[in-house]
Amino acid sequence: MTAAVYFISDLHLDAERPAVTRALFDFLQKITGDTNGAPASALYILGDLFEFWVGDDDDSPLVGEVADALREFSESGPDLYLMHGNRDFLIGADYAARAGAQLLDDPVVVTTGGNDLLLMHGDSLCTRDEDYQRFRTLARSPEWKADVLARSLDERRRLAAQLRMASRDAGSRKAADIMDVTPSEVERIRRETGVRTLIHGHTHRPARHDEPGGTRWVLGDWDAQGWFLRHENGELQLNKFDVIQ
C-alpha cells in the first residue's frame, strides 16, 4: 500500500471563524493516524490557508496556534507544503519555517505515486478578471511587498481590513463566469508543463472536470463543510465533511 497524499486549500482561517481552525486541527490529527488506509505522507495546502496575511511578524494568537499545529504535524513525519493564495501571498520564509512547511511556487509540478500533478492556487487562471490580474501583478512585485511590509503592524492590519471589504463581484459589470477559470488558460498551462492532471482551489467551486486536455480537480473552501483531495494507490478522490460549528 502506498502512502496517502492530501490536498486542501481555501480554509480562509480567521479569528472570527474558530470552527474552521478547529476543523483543520482535527483534520491534521485524522490524516496522521488514518484508520481507513495509509497515514499521510504529505499534505499540500494550495493557497488561502489564511483569510489575510499582514506579515510574518503578526503576533495574533491564531497565527501562532496554526504554526504550532502545522509544525507538530510535519514533525510527526509527513511532508508539508504551502502555496500562496490571493489572500495570504505575503506569507514569508520565516512563517513557513515556524510551521515546518516548504513554500511552493505557483504553478508547480509534483510527482506522487508515479503520477505527475500540476498544482496551482487558481487565481492566475481567472484571466478574464482583468482588474484582479492587474492587482495580482502589482501585489506580487518585490517593490509593493517591500512597501507594505515596511509599514507598522497596525497599519497593515488596517489595510488588510480594507481589502477584506473589497468584493470581486461588486463592480465593473462583471459576469459571474469572469470569476471562474478561463478554459484556454487551463489548456495553455497544461501544454506548457506537459501535465494533464491539474489540482487547484480559489474558485470555491469544488468539482472534478474531465476536460479534453486532462482532468482538473477543484478543491473546495472550508466553511460549513470542509474539502480535501486524497491521492492513494494512483487514484484521486475528492471528499467533503461537515465542519462542527
Binding site: 480594507q162 471589504m165 463592480g171 465593473s172
Partner: protein, 170 residues
C-alpha cells in the same frame, strides 16, 4: 427617503445628496428602475456589515450600469447604520451593490487618495429599522456559488421604494 422592504421588515434610509451627489443619483437610478427588487443581502458578516443589491435569490449576478467615482472623501463615516457603496479593490468601481455597516468600521473611512486609503463612500443612513439590521446581521450563513458568508436562507429585498415627499435634494 428610500425604503428597502426586506423579508425581515422595512429599512428606511435617508440619503445625503449634498455630501454624496453622484452616489445618491446612482443609487436612485437603480431604485427607480426596480433593479434592487428581488435582490438579496448575499454577504452577511455579523459585527461588520451586510452587503446586497447585486444578486437574485438564486445567486445569479445582475448586470449593472457603469461604475461611479468614489465619493468617500466627503467626510461621512462608516458608522453603525450608515449605507455605503461596495466595490472591488479599485476605488472607483462601485456599481449597484451597497452595504450597511452594523458596527463602526473606522478602517473603511477615507484617509487619502491612494488605492489603500480611498475608503468606502457613505451616502446615507438608516433612520428606521435598526431592529431589522439586528435580525439580518445574525442570520446563519454558509458558502454558496463561490461566495462566503451567504445567508443559508435568502434575505430578500422584495422592493426598494422612493418616498418623493421626503424633501431630499435628489
Amino acid at each position: 427617503m428610500v425604503t428597502l422592504h426586506t423579508t425581515y421588515g422595512p429599512i428606511k434610509i435617508e440619503l445625503d445628496a449634498e455630501k454624496a451627489p453622484a452616489t445618491v443619483a446612482n443609487f436612485l437610478m437603480y431604485v427607480r428602475e426596480g433593479f434592487y427588487d428581488g435582490t438579496i443581502f448575499h454577504r452577511v458578516i455579523d459585527n461588520f456589515m451586510i452587503q446586497g443589491g447585486g444578486f437574485d435569490s438564486e445567486m445569479n449576478q445582475k448586470a449593472t450600469q457603469d461604475p461611479i467615482e468614489n465619493e468617500a472623501d466627503n467626510g461621512l463615516k462608516n458608522d453603525f447604520g450608515t449605507i455605503a457603496m461596495a466595490r472591488t479593490m479599485d476605488p472607483h468601481s462601485a456599481t449597484a451593490q451597497f452595504f450597511i455597516n452594523v458596527k463602526d468600521n473606522d478602517f473603511l473611512n477615507h484617509s487619502g487618495k491612494t488605492m489603500q486609503g480611498w475608503g468606502y463612500a457613505v451616502f446615507g443612513r438608516v433612520v428606521e429599522g435598526d431592529d431589522v439590521l439586528e435580525k439580518i446581521r445574525a442570520v446563519p450563513t454558509t458558502s454558496r456559488s463561490g461566495h462566503q458568508d451567504v445567508p443559508t436562507e435568502a434575505v430578500i429585498i422584495e422592493s426598494a421604494t422612493l418616498d418623493e415627499d421626503s424633501g431630499e435634494v435628489a
